[in-house]
Symmetry: C2
């Protein structure tokens, strides 16, 4: 019987310009670590959150890592108590799937400690409980790539239908996170509730085109498809200097550039590591000129998803 | 110098459930034949339309075969006159790309007679002139598969971006055309002008899923993706017995079933020829029980597009 397990879950980019609520991919680099430990005291507790000073709920039922563990413990019928320690490697409210990573890492670690042997499809359903708390919504376009890794399409939600897409060998991503926070709930309120038919035709064409471009390793087609008619027009104004960063990325040779998730992070896709690094540099210059601190990530797209990184019997 | 050329252009299925205005594929079987002949009399004329009795305009500027020829003759600067003979193999207003086939066949035949040597991208732009007359719109989701053959995605319209998709070896189509006419213009007027965001998410997920399913030859994914949240809900009531035909096709084992173009034709996709023939039989029974004559087509999906079938020097 395992006493303690620690899981790591990576950051992720969702929406991917033309794939609002249906596409996402995992990042290499920062992520969240969650440790779940058996306790003789019944129930679930948040035993620690690092780094100190983050404004995250310590009530486990309101915490994105706590909610999946509560649900899994209840489903297992195990009599044990569980303590949760969270180590946030991803900036909160940054748009690179911070709440998804905590929820997924908690579910993966809890699965290991309880010995429940759930596969990723089942873990996803528990992790959704965490995402629901973070954003009020049950979209899985961060959760699924965080869990499985790689580039995923969420074909549908009833039931959840996750499709793993082929990724071209030389596709790289740049993410720049300006140091401002946007709450996912707030960003969702800005979205239009209805979309003009002409924009729907453009969006479906681009979403279908992006999938075709990925499957055929056609970088030009990927580039032509990376346009967003839904979220970017509504949300761009939340991000100081967005237009300038996008222009800088494209001028540096990126295939496309848009908002990561609900922002403020901005991602660009490029056809080589060197192009992704040039885009990072160009985008960073613009963020700095707007007086904002930031973090930047350059990552290949085909990255592994969440995994157990430590166990104590 | 060529005196006469005849071109054949096949019928096609557009929209394909989740690909409103962006997807279509060519059919094997019926199509339109257009003959273009040099004349010493300047200008363009419709010299004949067969079968007799069709209510098609004889003014070439208002005829779907005439308009592309007028545009091509003007662009070529040739001093010749041109006579056009149209042989309609496709039922008019049926939803299987009848106007597109006449426009494409006319453009292909005219290209041969004038010796203009245009490639398909350029011929598409001339053929659009015919589609504009037929429906008031410049969508190319029938024109492109009719011209190139196979299964195409129209990624975008500005500029027109046609992507040729891989088609699984055993994918077959059934089309049933009840003998009623729906005018494309009328069917377009029924469409909602704005779409709720939740339906947009579902539609983009399905369009992206269909492309992934085609590229990976994943018949189950194709089946899960063949749902329409835009046109089918608005147009189904134009087609007597639509719900019964769809149910019959699915019960017969089809992967999916929806309206072909703006109807009244209904298509189903199946994972084998025998399943496509079973769907044809089941759908035909329902049409007959509704007291309607009909025509049915069973076709593989990877079919050639328009081509010159006869030339006289």
């Amino acid at each position: 019987m395992k006493d303690t397990a620690t899981a790591f879950a990576p950051g992720s980019v969702s929406n991917v310009a033309c794939g609002f609520d249906i596409m996402g991919f995992a990042l290499q680099g920062p992520g969240d670590r969650v440790t779940v430990r058996r306790s003789s005291k019944p129930g679930v507790r948040i035993a620690g959150i690092r780094p100190a000073g983050l404004r995250l709920p310590e009530d486990p039922s309101r915490n994105t890592a706590g909610a999946p563990v509560i649900a899994m413990l209840a489903a297992s019928g195990a009599g044990t108590g569980l303590d949760i320690e969270i180590e946030k490697g991803l900036p909160v409210g940054s748009g690179i799937g911070s709440s998804a990573a905590s929820a997924v890492a908690a579910a993966v670690a809890c699965n290991e400690v309880l010995g429940t042997g759930y596969g990723p499809e089942e873990l996803l359903l528990f992790a959704i409980e965490g995402e629901r708390i973070a954003s009020g919504a049950t979209h899985v376009d961060n959760l699924a790539p965080c869990l499985w890794g790689g580039f995923v399409l969420v074909r549908g939600y009833d039931p959840i239908d996750v499709v793993h897409l082929h990724v071209p060998e030389n596709l790289w991503c740049t993410v720049v996170c300006p140091s401002i926070e946007i709450r996912t709930e707030e960003a969702r309120r800005l979205l239009p509730q209805t979309i003009p038919l002409c924009d729907v035709v453009a969006q479906t064409g681009n979403a279908a085109g992006l999938v075709a471009g990925l499957m055929m390793s056609d970088y030009d087609l990927i580039s032509r498809s990376l346009h967003d008619r839904i979220a970017e027009p509504a949300r761009a104004r939340l991000i100081p200097g967005f237009a300038g960063m996008k222009q800088a990325a494209l001028q540096a040779g990126a295939l496309g550039c848009s908002i990561s998730g609900s922002g403020p992070a901005i991602f660009a896709l490029s056809a080589s590591e060197s192009a992704a690094r040039r885009a990072a540099s160009a985008m960073s210059d613009v963020v700095r000129s707007n007086g904002l601190d930031h973090q930047s990530i350059v990552s290949k797209i085909s990255q592994p998803g969440a995994r157990v990184v430590g166990v104590n019997e």
